[in-house]
Amino acid sequence: MNATIFFVLLVILAVGGLLLGRRKAVAAAGGDVRQLHSLVAYHGWNMALAAALPGLGVLAIGGFASTFIGLPMAVIFTVGLIAAAAGAGWGWMKIHRDFRARNSVETMVMGLLIVAASVAILTTVGIVFSMLFETGRFFSQYSWTEFFFGTTWAPNFRGDSDLGMLPLLWGTLYISFIALAVAVPIGLFAAIFLSEYATPKVRSIAKPLIEILAGIPTIVYGLFALITVGPLLRDYFAQPMGIGDSASSVMTAGLVMGIMLIPFVSSLSDDIINAVPQSMRDGSLGLGATPSETIRSVIMPAALPGIVGAILLAASRAIGETMIVVLGAGAAARLSLNPFEAMTTVTVKIVSQLTGDTDFASPETLVAFALGITLFVLTLGLNVLALYIVRKYREQYE
C-alpha cells in the first residue's frame, strides 16, 4: 500500500462519513430534524473527523516511530486505515437522537487547535535538541575549551583542524558594530524626524519608502554589497589609502547591513516615541523649550528603554544575518582591527561547513552545529533582554 492509496481511501472514508452520518441522523430523528440535539451537519462532521483524525494520528506517530524502529510504511498505512475505519464505525454507532454531536465535534476541533498551537513549541524543541545532540557529538571529538577560546580557525577536511571560534565571533561582532553604528543614528534621527517634525504628507511618503528597505530580501543586499559597495569602497577608499585591496571587507558588509537595519531601528523607535504621552511634550513646550530640547531632555529619556530594546533587537538581527556577510564579508577568519580587510562570521562558516559534500561524523562538519547553538543562544539572549526591557517600559505608561 502506498501513500496515494492511503490518502484516497482516507478521503473516501471521511467524505463517506460526512454523507452517511447526515443521512443516518435524519433517519434517527424520523425525518423531523428538530428532534435531534445537534444539527444534522454536526453528525456528519463527527463521523468524518472520527475517521480522519485517527488515520492521520496513526500516520504521524507511526512515521515518527519508524525512524527509530524501522517499521515498513505499508504497515503504518494499513494500521492507519483500520483506525480510520474504526473511528468512522464509532461515529456511525453513536448517531442517535440525543447524541451531542456538536460537543463531540467541538472537542475534536479544539484538539486540532491545541496541536497547531504546540507546533511552535515543537519547533523550538526541535531546534534546541537537534543542535544540542550534534554539538554533543562535536565536543566528544574536539575539546570545548579550544573551540570557545581558540584563536585560529583552520578547518582541514583531512582532519587535524584548528576550530577556534574567536576569530569568527570577532568578525561577527565587528561587522554588527559597524552596522549598528550606521543604522542607529540614521534610524533614530529618521524616527524622530518622522514622528516629531514631518508633516503628515511627508510622513505618509517617507515612512513607507524607508520601510520598503525592510521588505527587501537579504540576498538583494548581499548582491548590492558584492557588485556595488565592495568595489566602490576598495577603489575609492581602501586602495588609495593603502589599507586593503579586497572588495569584500568588514566595512562593505557592515555598511550594507546598516542600511538593512535602518527600517528596524526607525520603525520600532517611531512606535516607541509615539507612545510617549502628548502631555509630556506639551508640558515641556509650554515651559518654553524648543522642540529639539523637548526631544532631547523629555522624550528621549522617557523612550530610552524602548529604544535600547529596539537597538538590541537590531543587534540580534545583525548577528544572525547570513546572506550579506556571505557575499560581502569574505571567508578569511582573522583577528584584525582593519575594517577594510576581509573577515568572516559565525553564519558564513555555518554555511561553508554545511554546504557541499559533508560527512556528518567529522568535527569539521559538526562544528557548524556548535556554531549554530552559539548563535542561537546569543540571539535568544538579546531578544529576551530586549523584550524584557520593552515590556517593562510599556507598563509605565499604559
Binding site: L113, A117, I121, S130, I186, A190, I219, Y221, T379
Partner: protein, 454 residues
C-alpha cells in the same frame, strides 16, 4: 501679577533697554540654531534612508536589466537528412539517438555560408571557425531539441537563431571592451569586429530573451544560456507548501491562543516561544531542517518539500502574529451577539469572528509568503544550492525531486567565476523583486479595500 513685574524690570533706570522682543538675544539665537541643526539632522537621516533605497534599486536594475536582452545570431540551417535521419523513416526514437555532437557540422556548414556572405559584402576576413567560436556552446542542444520536436522539418532549410556566447553578448552591451578582450583567452578582437559586421548586416541582433525566465540553469562556461526555469518552479512548489501548511496551522494556533487559551504557564510558554521564533536567525531554521528533515527523517536533499517545511516553520510566527492582531481587532460585541442568540463559542468564532478577520489574515499571510520567497540562508543548508538542470515533475511527485529556488539561484550565480553571471544574478533579483512587489501590492490593496474600522 507677574505681568506687571516685566515692564518694571525692563524700564528700570538701572537696566538699559537692551532686550527687545524684536531682537533675539545671543542665547535664543543659539537655541534656534540648535533647533534648526537638529531638524536638518533628522531630514538628512530620512534622506539617507531614501537615497540608500534608490541607490540599491539603481544598482540592481542597471546591472540586471541587460540580462533580459540577449544577442542572437541568425543563420539558415540545412537540416541534412543524411546526418539526422540515416534510416530515412522519420522515426522519432531513431532521431533522438543522434548525438548532440553530430549537429556541429550542420551549424558549421551554415556558418561557413554566413562567413562567405559577409566576405562578399566586403567585411574583414571572417573565418567560419571564428563564427563557430562566437556561437554559444548550447547551440547544438537547442538545434537537437528543435529537430526532435519537429521531425518533419528534416531535409528542409530552416532559419534558426543561436545565442552568441557571453563575451560577444557582453561586448554588444558595452561590458567587454577591446582592451579587456585583448587580455581574455575566451574572445579575440577579430571576433568583436566580426560581431560589429554581423550587426551591421542584420545577421546578429539583440532582443528580449524569454529563455532567461524559462530555461534551466546552464553550466559554468555558458552563462548566456543560464535561465531561471527550475528555480521559479522550485520556488513555486515551496510557496505552495508554505501556503498549504502555514496558513491553516497558523490560523488554528492563533484562534486557540487568542480565543480559548486560559492564562496559564503553558500559554505563556507558547507566547514567549512564538515571539522568540520570529526573531531567531533564519539560518538556524536551516540547521533544524538539515538535522530533522534530512538527517533524521531521511527526506531527500535539495527537494522542495524540505525547503517548504523549513520555510513554513519560519513563516508561522509571522502569520500567527498577524492573525492574532486581526482577531483582536474584531470587537467583542460581535462575539457577544453570536453567543446571545445561542451559538456555541466555537460557532461564534468560526461563523462570525473568523470571516471578519479574514482580510487581515490574508494580508499577513501574503506578507509572510513574500518573506519566505526571498529567504536564502536556510535553503543553502538543505542542499538547494545544487546544480539542477532538470525540471522537477508535476505535483505531487515533483516535491521530492531536486530543485532550486529563486534566491538560491542568485547566490549560485554569484559563486561562479565568469563575470557574465553577475548580470544573470542581478536579472534574477529583478524577477524576484517583481514577484515581491506584486505580492505586497496585493496585500496593500486587500488591506485598503477590506479593512474595517470598528
Amino acid at each position: 501679577m507677574t505681568d506687571a513685574a516685566l515692564p518694571t524690570a525692563a524700564s528700570g533706570p538701572a537696566a538699559p533697554a537692551k532686550k527687545s522682543l524684536h531682537v533675539l538675544d545671543a542665547r535664543t539665537r543659539k537655541r534656534n540654531a540648535a533647533e534648526r541643526r537638529f531638524r536638518i539632522y533628522g531630514g538628512c537621516a530620512v534622506g539617507a534612508g531614501v537615497v540608500a533605497l534608490i541607490l540599491l534599486l539603481i544598482s540592481i536594475l542597471s546591472s540586471g536589466l541587460p540580462a533580459f536582452q540577449q544577442t542572437f545570431l541568425k543563420a539558415e540551417i540545412q537540416l541534412d537528412a543524411k546526418v539526422l535521419d540515416p534510416a530515412g523513416d522519420r522515426d522519432p526514437a531513431k532521431i533522438a539517438k543522434v548525438l548532440t555532437f553530430s549537429y556541429s557540422p550542420l551549424i558549421k556548414a551554415s556558418l561557413t555560408r554566413l562567413a562567405e556572405d559577409l566576405k562578399a559584402r566586403g567585411a574583414a576576413d571572417v573565418t567560419p571557425q571564428m563564427l563557430a567560436d562566437m556561437v554559444s556552446g548550447a547551440a547544438n542542444a537547442k538545434l537537437r531539441d528543435y529537430v526532435i520536436a519537429n521531425p518533419d522539418q528534416i531535409g528542409e532549410t530552416v532559419a534558426f537563431e543561436f545565442l552568441t556566447n557571453a563575451r560577444i553578448d557582453q561586448y554588444l552591451k558595452g561590458k567587454v571592451t577591446r582592451e579587456s578582450a585583448a587580455l581574455d583567452s575566451k574572445v579575440d578582437v577579430a571576433q568583436l569586429d566580426a560581431a560589429d559586421a554581423l550587426i551591421a548586416s542584420g545577421a546578429m541582433e539583440q532582443r528580449f530573451n524569454w529563455d532567461f525566465i524559462t530555461a534551466p540553469d546552464a553550466s559554468e562556461n555558458r552563462p548566456e544560456a543560464a535561465g531561471l526555469g527550475v528555480a521559479l518552479l522550485g520556488s513555486l512548489y515551496m510557496m505552495l507548501i508554505v501556503l498549504c501548511l502555514a496558513l491553516p496551522i497558523g490560523v488554528a494556533a492563533s484562534i486557540y491562543l487568542e480565543e480559548f487559551a486560559k492564562k496559564n504557564f503553558w500559554t505563556d510558554v507558547i507566547e514567549v516561544n512564538i515571539s522568540n521564533l520570529a526573531a531567531v536567525p533564519s539560518i538556524v531554521f536551516g540547521i533544524l531542517g538539515l538535522a530533522i528533515f534530512i538527517n533524521f527523517m531521511h527526506l531527500p536533499n535539495s527537494a522542495p518539500i524540505v525547503g517548504g517545511l523549513v520555510l513554513t516553520l519560519m513563516t508561522l510566527p509571522t502569520i500567527i502574529i498577524a492573525t492574532r492582531a486581526s482577531l483582536k481587532a474584531v470587537p467583542p460585541s460581535i462575539r457577544d451577539a453570536a453567543l446571545g442568540v445561542g451559538a456555541s463559542k466555537m460557532q461564534a468564532i468560526f461563523h462570525h469572528v473568523l470571516p471578519l478577520a479574514a482580510p487581515g489574515i490574508l494580508t499577513g499571510t501574503i506578507i509572510g509568503l513574500a518573506q519566505a520567497l526571498g529567504e536564502t540562508a536556510p535553503l543553502l543548508l538543505i542542499g538547494m544550492v545544487a546544480f539542477v538542470r532538470d525540471y522537477p515533475d508535476a505535483l505531487p511527485g515533483g516535491l521530492f525531486e531536486p530543485a532550486t529556488g529563486l534566491p538560491v539561484q542568485v547566490y549560485n550565480f554569484t559563486q561562479r567565476a565568469d563575470p557574465a553571471f553577475v548580470e544573470r544574478a542581478s536579472g534574477a533579483i529583478i524577477v524576484l523583486l517583481v514577484f515581491l512587489v506584486i505580492m505586497n501590492l496585493v496585500a496593500i490593496v486587500l488591506r485598503r479595500r477590506f479593512e474595517r474600522r470598528w
